[in-house]
Amino acid sequence: MAYITLPAGKPGMHGLLAFRPEMAPPLCALTDALLRSEEGLSRGERELIGAFVSSLNDCFICENIHGAVAQQHLRAGDDFVEKIKSDYQNSGASEKMKALLRLAESVQQGGQFVTADQVEAARLQGATDLEIHDTVLIAALFCLFNRYLDGLGVLSGDTPVTFRERAADIVSRGYCR
């Protein structure tokens, strides 16, 4: 049971957006712009950053749903996302992605934890201003979503199968419905 009364039958963020429908357009537009853009980072890379930050925040719903979306976009092996979460430095991700995940890791701790050296390391691997910007904002956005769900005690009724089904729906239709 969540801490407030949410409309029945709507999992995760869907229940919160149904409780406060006026918030849905900006949150969905923001999520779509950040996670569905293909300028710079790919959709799979964007989702991977979201799943990684959600796992650092230990947000069960977000790390599973966005992990599944990343997996489907990247067409990666079953354990790739798990490897990113547990030890991204030895995950087989590109050096650029590792440097961006390092930035995301700092953002999760707090904005001031991002250092000029970390940004420079990402640039040396070819990251552009836009990619650095998007990495920071994706990591920050998941610090919002993770707290919104967990702060209101929203529980998951999902199974691995329903996470995959919901992820497939996001891959095909995006976040603006």
């Binding site: 801490y3 407030i4 009364t5 919160l16 409780f19 406060r20 006026e22 918030m23 357009p25 900006p26 949150l27 537009a29 923001l30 712009a33 950040l34 925040n57 230990d58 947000c59 930035l103 700092s106 953002v107 999760q108 707090g110 904005g111 001031q112 991002v114 000029a116 940004v119 201003d129 836009l130 650095i132 910007h133 920071v136 904002l137 990591a139 920050a140 956005l141 610090c143 919002l144 979503f145 993770n146 707290r147 919104y148 769900l149 967990d150 702060g151 209101l152 005690g153």
Partner: protein, 179 residues
């Protein structure tokens, strides 16, 4: 120096929303709805929660600007704002707002630590589902804005430049969040 090339004539969140307007527009719309549209919490109370969470995140730009907006909106009770930022438990604010600030603080530190007891305590002070929802979402949203503004090292006036913050607070209090 910001970590990326941002518009040089702008500071803080404004430099970021102008850098990438397709994310900037929904970010400002989110702030406007959350902090200005209807809520059982007053606009001043919502700005105060935003300033409190930003102070816990040590984000100078968001703390100073939202504290200034809260001071503008609280008008002749504006000393409450600085009292909240020092020790909110002793500030001249309602018991309901104190209990909501306790929840906001937990959301900032680690949202999983919010308990049913915390929620029961705010309900005893008269808080409704919407009070609780808006408090959690404001706290969560500022955990995003704070990280965005500081994670890219955007320009920030000195905390001591009281005139600059006061002008900003009045603009936020009158115009709200428009790009």
């Amino acid at each position: 120096m910001p970590h990326i090339a941002l518009p040089e004539d702008l500071i803080g969140i404004r430099s970021l929303v102008n850098y990438r307007p397709d994310t900037g527009q929904p970010l400002y719309a989110l702030a406007q709805i959350l902090l200005r549209h209807d809520s059982p919490l007053s606009t001043g109370e919502r700005e105060l929660i935003a300033a409190y969470v930003s102070a816990l995140n040590a984000c100078t730009f968001c703390t100073c600007s939202h504290a200034a907006a809260a001071r503008y909106l609280f008008q002749d009770e504006q000393e409450a704002v600085d009292n909240v930022l020092r020790v909110y438990q002793q500030a001249p604010i309602s018991e309901k707002l104190k209990a909501l600030l306790a929840i906001a603080g937990k959301v900032q530190a680690d949202a999983r630590t919010v308990t049913a007891e915390d929620v029961a305590r705010v309900r005893q002070q008269g808080a409704t589902d919407r009070d609780i929802h808006d408090t959690v979402l404001i706290a969560a949203t500022f955990c995003m804005f704070n990280r965005y503004v500081d994670g890219l090292a955007t320009g920030t006036p000195s905390p001591d430049d009281l005139n600059a913050w006061s002008v900003m607070g009045e603009r936020m209090g009158t115009k709200g969040y428009v790009i």
